[in-house]
Symmetry: D2
Subunit: 355 residues, 4 copies
């Protein structure tokens, strides 16, 4: 931590700051510059809040942090090594991480009925997906919009899991539902709107299932890693980070701006595995394949793609859903790039007539 | 709702869209333009999601909403009249609304101890505040930062309420805490980070205490009103909207950008009363008085100001807190403008030596 | 300037950085922290670019600037004193600055014809404006939109100046037009879209007329002050900063987000006088009076208000223009607040029937 | 164009609007909805400004545009076909467009001296670049930073062109320099900060050299296409669009947010070819290769990469420059993906020891 004093700060004020820092257990080292005095703090400053220091003396101009505020999420915490999240599914363990083939998650925004969810699961499995996504509890901007089928949808997800062996990823919106969701889900999703719902983060951190943490739409990368830190600090080390588009000034043609540069940035900062969701990231099915391919080339560890058997009839998010046929086509195109960059599963699944 | 067809759409596709709309219970009216055909939907389209229509036919270029998506929050819902929120406090009822004097809420970010909270309450009451703010449960970016004293802080707030007669405003972060918070709080705050925690919105909507709904840092005004709509639709009509700064590209000198233009915009769109929080809105005590005065001149119905007896020692948000003396000074400056615009309480409270 | 080395940097690398800094004329001082080494640079680092240092050694994690990058624009440059811009107009000198009454600039977006510009000038003068604004050269998003009447509009501005004695503010879009604009204008405006047109900044800096520098819509306050620095460094010290709304994620109800918190921030950073333009800042006439009052309460030194005799027939920017009657009303409302805060001209101009 | 009237608009007001529209040459068609009346305008509304209509009657709630505001830049203008820009270079014509292999532009931010620019040109040519970029006139945030060597740098670019046969891309900042730049440059660049410098756009539109139009950092895609429309409308049809990162709330780890989703969006909206600049788009060399690969997978037509022989000694933009060795490595990695997606030049250039 570096304390910058205002130019013209009287010497006794500088001494007062130094003494306070000593009292707090740090060794202050003073650098007298041409215009300003700067104080470096030596000691374990990771948990220190720059704002707390700032308040000590009105002659402090700014406090600059030198250490990152996240610990368990940092790459340094694992000495530069990537971590992987290994998820047990009926079809066997699936590992998501930098040193594994890209894992594809697919399925509808909402679980609508049994035929629909099982049919979709079979199609996406046949095309190579390892996980089925599907919402039982849906965060909707309007209280009058379809809010998800809740508990009964969880049963349908369980049926789809049994029918196909795919792992299940579904969202929790309320800690009170966590237990029943955990009975069905292989990965529990925290949605973008709850990324800083700290109560929920603590609760998913205190249970055992892996957590998919979506980036909030105005969350900086640091905010996002701090949200992951809540889960890690609560005891759950199985966290996957999912970028799904951020909010910018241009929302005319895409609903969000998919920030693919988060991939190389996260690689430097954290050991956690990365997922990209181009469906929410763009909001329009027409743009999903392009951005999925870009994410793959940029080195994502997994992809989340919305697939619906009949998008025009979808109860939610239809415009961003691919049809199963479009998804087959996308998987074929992804395989071309995935093979070129050696991140695609070795044997392409047979696109046999599962249905 | 207006459906715009792509140029060159074949006639049968247009017919298909019209037939679907008839089947959905609307009367479609077609306008054949020079390049494009446009279909207007007559009927009750308020609950309709433009995206649902969009998915019906790939020849649809866009769907334009003509009605606002919020109903109970809209100004039209009260035929253009403002609503007021009247809160019973030990000192008597306090009304917040367009036709009442500006109400000032003040107090520390976090409740720290009894002497501190009661002392602050006495000072802000003496200066003219009607409500004490103070956090028992604190949303903090870092899991390692002070998270609030929780239940014991609620007891201290109750003590401060008894000692001063001020109403209490405090934040709920988890629906499970709602009942015990409601025992103490006169107004329940939903924080910016939980503005789209829809489970929580439903829960605060199902209880009786007035709700202060802070704007999310990337929430559009429409998102914000839709969040209010969740509370209203759940049965609670006592909602106050609080602007506390939005996130923009410039975060170097202020922590957020306080969007005061929300005041005239909300006046047109909604009947709900408005509060402005310049403390979070700027993040620095030095900027709070200026922005409080601007908010008053812009017609806010209430102000929320962070006050701490000793900001350098605050457990949270110190840099944006005024001292009680600075708060006295601010109230005197506000009175000048408030009196000029006839929004200030008639009798200025005596700034007697309460402490 | 502070250089932060990555954790684990080998000693010789640190030495290399220190030696380079010595070679560049600075005295490096090293602080050995628990995890990282930090090097403070003593010397005249104002002109140094942090990026230049960063490139010297790949073990450098970051370079933190302690000094501000602007000099002549900084408040320190005038030892904490505000500057004022005094403009000679036919009606006498008008001073814009922190210690003077608020100066109001009003007029249409574009100069349309003689009757219109002279009539408007007479009305705004009668209401208390000291300057007439009016565009001869207009920056328009579309090449097919009205681009301003150019040179002939300059003649009309000269006529309005003669008829009313008001000072003239008009925009330059091309350095080649500067000379002829300077013959008519008392203040030369650089528009938001040209705020980083550095060639133009140098050119307006090399002539004598005061310059009104509008903030770019994505310009940070630092960018803006650096743009002012271009003008100051070129030799022209008469610069006024004009906030006109920044671009954010919410553009549904206002065209820009008027950042009034720039006022207290600029007061700390710079000595230059401040103008606020609520017309462009909101984009809608209905919101202009509210935001003008807020700006006044926040301490602006001047206001720019669009006024058009018949907004529905305006060739540009009609929706944000007040009618002369609305402007009269606004000036009366501003006087109430302006008098309360002692920033309004002593004698209110007579609102006599000039027309 | 669709005019939405406020609910409760009196019939005569609706009639007034319709009559005005008839007078303007349009056929208004009225749809009477449940709450609101909507008027569709039939006729050639492309050049019409929604704001102009809005101002006609205060009962108008909003005016919705159905047609795009750009014409010559629109995909429809070429009946859905892509255009290509073919540039004559000493090494032969190079086509940039959707149906051609990806073209790589490389070189330093600024032209520093002859050895440096010729050496860099030889290296990037050997690695497969077809164009050399290099700044003679540099837009710098600070007036005290290196502003480019100007005219003498143009001579060095001419020398590099002669030595290697590469085409030259360099930026114009002032219309007065255009003629001398056009003597050397094969493509003239308009930088992000001048994207809405409409005078400059008209000037580059009136000359013959192809224009590279960088997206402004707060420009929407529509703003950007309207800027291109200025050039096209002035008579120059050779325009390439270059995305270089937009400004968002998160600037901690990348200097801008590279918006790769502009690629599929632009493909639908415009026929113009696309270039991606990951160097400015991220601001850090470490992130450039990843984003270059992503852009290639997303279907860009060309890439612009900053390469400097010795980034730590660069006079500008060093931290985002690759070394020639890193560029060789990147080109090899790009070839893998480029070959997989069939957008790479057939014969890889020999990486012979040119230097």
């Amino acid at each position: 931590m570096i304390i910058v004093m205002k130019s013209g700060t009287p010497e006794p004020e500088i001494e007062q700051v130094c003494e306070t820092m000593v009292a707090w257990g740090f060794s202050p080292e003073k650098i007298v510059g041409k215009h300003k005095v700067v104080i470096g703090l030596v000691g374990d400053t990771v948990d220190l809040d720059p704002l707390q220091i700032q308040e000590n003396n009105s002659w402090i101009e700014q406090v600059l942090r030198v250490e990152q505020p996240f610990k368990r999420a940092s790459r340094d915490y694992r000495h530069g090594e990537a971590s992987e999240v290994v998820i047990e599914t009926p079809n066997g363990p699936v590992a998501i991480g930098e040193h594994h083939p890209v894992v594809v998650v697919a399925g509808p925004c909402s679980v609508e009925n049994e035929a629909m969810i099982i049919g979709t699961a079979q199609r996406v499995k046949a095309a190579g997906a390892k996980f089925l996504r599907g919402g039982a509890y849906k965060p909707r901007t309007s209280p009058y919009a379809f809010q998800g089928h809740g508990e009964s949808a969880l049963e349908l997800l369980a049926a789809a899991r049994e029918a196909t062996g795919l792992g299940i990823i579904t969202e929790v919106m309320d800690g009170a539902d966590l237990e029943k969701i955990a009975l069905v889900a292989d990965v529990i999703q925290v949605g973008a709107r709850n990324m800083q719902n700290f109560s929920l983060l603590k609760q998913v951190g205190q249970q055992d299932k892996p957590v998919l943490l979506k980036r909030g739409m105005a969350a900086t990368i640091e905010d996002w890693l701090m949200a992951a830190e809540y889960i890690l600090a609560a005891g759950n080390s199985q966290v996957i980070l999912c970028e799904r588009g951020i909010r910018t000034f241009d929302r005319q043609y895409t609903r969000n701006t998919l920030d693919l540069s988060c991939i190389p940035v996260l690689r430097q900062l954290t050991h956690l595995p990365i997922m990209i969701d181009p469906s929410h990231g763009t909001g329009w099915a027409a743009y999903v394949p392009t951005m999925a391919k870009a994410a793959l080339a940029a080195g994502t560890d997994s992809l989340m793609i919305e697939v619906h058997p009949n998008p025009p009839k979808a109860l939610s998010d239809g415009p961003q859903s691919l049809t199963p046929d479009q998804f087959d086509q996308l998987m074929a195109e992804l395989a071309v790039i995935g093979n070129a960059v050696a991140r695609w599963p070795e044997k392409a699944p047979e696109l046999a007539g599962v249905l």
